[in-house]
Amino acid sequence: MSILVGKDTKLLVQGITGGAGSFHAKQMIEYGTNVVGGVTPTRGGEKFEGKVPVFDTVSQAVKATGANASVIFVPPPGAADAILEAFDAGVELVICITEGIPVVDMLGVRRVLEAAQAEARASGAKIPRLVGPNCPGVITPGECKIGIMPGHIHKKGNIGVVSRSGTLTYEAVGQLTALGIGQSTCVGIGGDPVNGMDFVDVLELFQADPDTHGVIMIGEIGGGAEERGAEFIRTKMTKPVAGFIAGTTAPPGKRMGHAGAIISGGKGTAAAKIAALEAAGAKVAPTPSDMASTLKSMMS
């Protein structure tokens, strides 16, 4: 098993005819991901790479293919629209890679998503989920790669990875694989201030997944997602969690690459997040080179 994505995932690619969309659609197909269709408005009826059908709308694509996941490569001006279109068409898992979506747009998306999730919880239906935006995606090694991560560094196994940063996720995965430790699923939740799945949501799934035996959680400065994750670890998590927080040396008030990576009003510092994780029983790697070895030391 694994979380979020696997052999049963039937994937749509929104923005499949664009530069990033087409490049990564090919890479995902090559990895073995079941890409059942693409969506580009006005390009319906075409075939991508001679075999993947392209649709004008997500709704048409879902009806024709039975897709249950969608990955979004639509540029920022249309990205929030693309996310909402996917949920409206009944897609359960939407993964948005796009970087640079205005935060006001994401507030609207969150509002719709939260209402849909509350409805699903009340009726016992499958809960719709958004991963990202501004994230590398989700991979279950050997089964399904959705996003832009380099597939070859991963190895099938039992460690879950959840991270706000793309390249730091690769760093952690590279370290794990070098130690011969495989991964169950790796989830990039993205570097934006308002996003979909949070650390808590992903940790909850890892805790419930019998094939995940331990977790690496990678946070960074800004916001309170790491602190909420730490609270979940303290109260609900029985599996070992190793952490790393990037930005110990980041100056306050400066946006460090990610829109969400900013210390404002003295809040969101690395020191506060590290303290919260340690108080919750997680072990925080002293340097980014020690993420995998720190988790290994906790696994017996």
Partner: protein
């Protein structure tokens, strides 16, 4: 992106938020003319001369002065303020040079309030905060007397509702000025909410918002930051940007599509990905703190950078006089290692490599990238891991006798 107070007030006025009359001035002559014009328009000799810099705390730093004697006094004050190095708690000890003034009408105030709007990341809503502690830093109020801050969260479907604004108005005690004042406050809030949404403000602060003796409410200050992600739908922002307020190197990087932040240290860093770039700074500091080795910059070349962008990025580091060693740390995903290698080699050949260079390459096309570096003839130390790279950097700076 931040803008000046007078620009913020122009934005707010567009949405119907009451603001005092005022005119910006770039010279002492313009300041005097503005004061004259204001006095004749308002029939009041009293004007305020306000330094326009992006940092807060201008009043305490001596950047805001009241001229009671009209245009002549306004001129004298302007001579003092224009060109001064204004030091506030937000500028750092070196201060910021005052290049613009705002000459504003004086008002008869009854009370100063605080009003702010932010994106509340945890609640995923726009939050409005109001407080009777106008003129104080809101962080101080939040720390010392949090009960004095009233907050409402806006549901994006309905937008800000009048009842929420009334809650704030009654909570602030505005009924003591009469129901007209409450109504004026509610109207002002509606205008503010529209401004936040339509202008893509990530932060909007009015400190103070004032109640005048006649019962009007007015924005006496305006501090606005825009959400950089929304730049594509705001062509007007280009005109509002004051390049004098920005770090020139950061501006140069932004124009080249790079994320760059200047820091105080001596190790230039070129990294792909924001998280990895921060982690690289952290590990350099961790390894080098005792030896006076620290990062000189944050630089994320991003995932889709071209060879030209990498060349530009590496050139910027090479040109920095404070850089005593360079650490290139790449974990290629979308970014291919050969693109990085070619960019580094091109920049080094053009500008010459006078400081030690440590390179750690991993991920997509790593073999090709290493081959390009090996065959370049440049003196490059290869690192196997981030930790190894950081140690090599510390050794290079300390043993190289390059100083601090």
């Amino acid at each position: 992106m931040k803008i000046h107070e007078y620009q913020g007030k122009q934005v707010l006025a567009k949405y119907g938020v009451p603001v005092p009359k005022g005119y910006p001035a770039f010279t002492v002559d313009e300041a005097e003319a503005a004061a004259k014009r204001l006095s004749s328009e308002t029939g009041n000799q009293l004007v305020v001369v306000k330094a326009q810099i992006h940092a807060g705390g201008r009043g305490k730093g001596g950047g805001v002065k009241v001229a009671k004697g009209g245009a002549a006094e306004a001129r004298q004050l302007s001579e003092k303020i224009l060109g001064m190095q204004l030091v506030t708690h937000q500028t750092g000890p070196e201060g910021t040079k005052v290049r613009r003034l705002y000459i504003e009408q004086g008002l008869e105030m009854a009370q100063e309030l605080y009003l702010g709007a932010v994106i509340d990341r945890d609640a995923r809503r726009i939050a409005f905060m109001a407080s009777t502690e106008g003129g104080m830093e809101i962080e101080t109020v939040a720390a010392e007397t949090p009960e004095k801050i009233l907050t409402v969260h806006v549901d994006p479907v309905n937008g800000l509702m009048p009842y929420q604004s009334r809650e704030l108005a009654f909570g602030l005690g505005l009924m003591k000025y009469g129901k007209e004042t409450v109504a004026k406050f509610v109207r002002l809030m509606a205008s503010l909410y529209r401004a936040v949404l339509e202008e893509d403000c990530s932060m909007l602060e009015i400190n103070p918002l004032v109640v005048l003796k006649n019962g009007d409410v007015m924005a006496l200050d305006a501090k606005i930051s825009f959400d950089d992600n929304a730049e594509f739908r705001h062509k007007s922002w280009a005109e509002l940007q004051d390049k004098d307020e920005e770090d020139p190197v950061e501006l140069e990087a932004k124009d080249a599509g790079l994320n760059y932040v200047s820091l105080d240290g001596n190790v230039g860093c070129l990294v792909n990905g924001a998280g990895l770039a921060m982690a690289t700074m952290d590990i350099i500091k961790h390894a080098g703190e005792k030896h006076g080795v620290a990062p000189a910059n944050f630089l994320d070349v991003g995932g889709g950078a071209t060879q030209e962008q990498v060349t530009k990025a590496f050139s910027m580091i090479l040109k920095s006089p404070k850089v005593k060693a360079i650490f290139v740390n790449i974990f290629g995903g979308i970014m291919k290692c050969d693109v990085i290698a070619n960019g580094v080699v091109a920049a080094a050949k053009e500008l010459g490599l006078k400081v030690p260079l440590v390179v750690r390459l991993e991920g997509t096309n790593v073999e090709l990238g290493r081959k390009i570096l090996n065959e370049s003839g440049l003196a490059i130390q290869a690192a196997s891991t981030m930790a190894d790279g950081a140690q090599k950097i510390v050794d290079a700076v300390t043993k190289g006798g390059a100083g601090k």
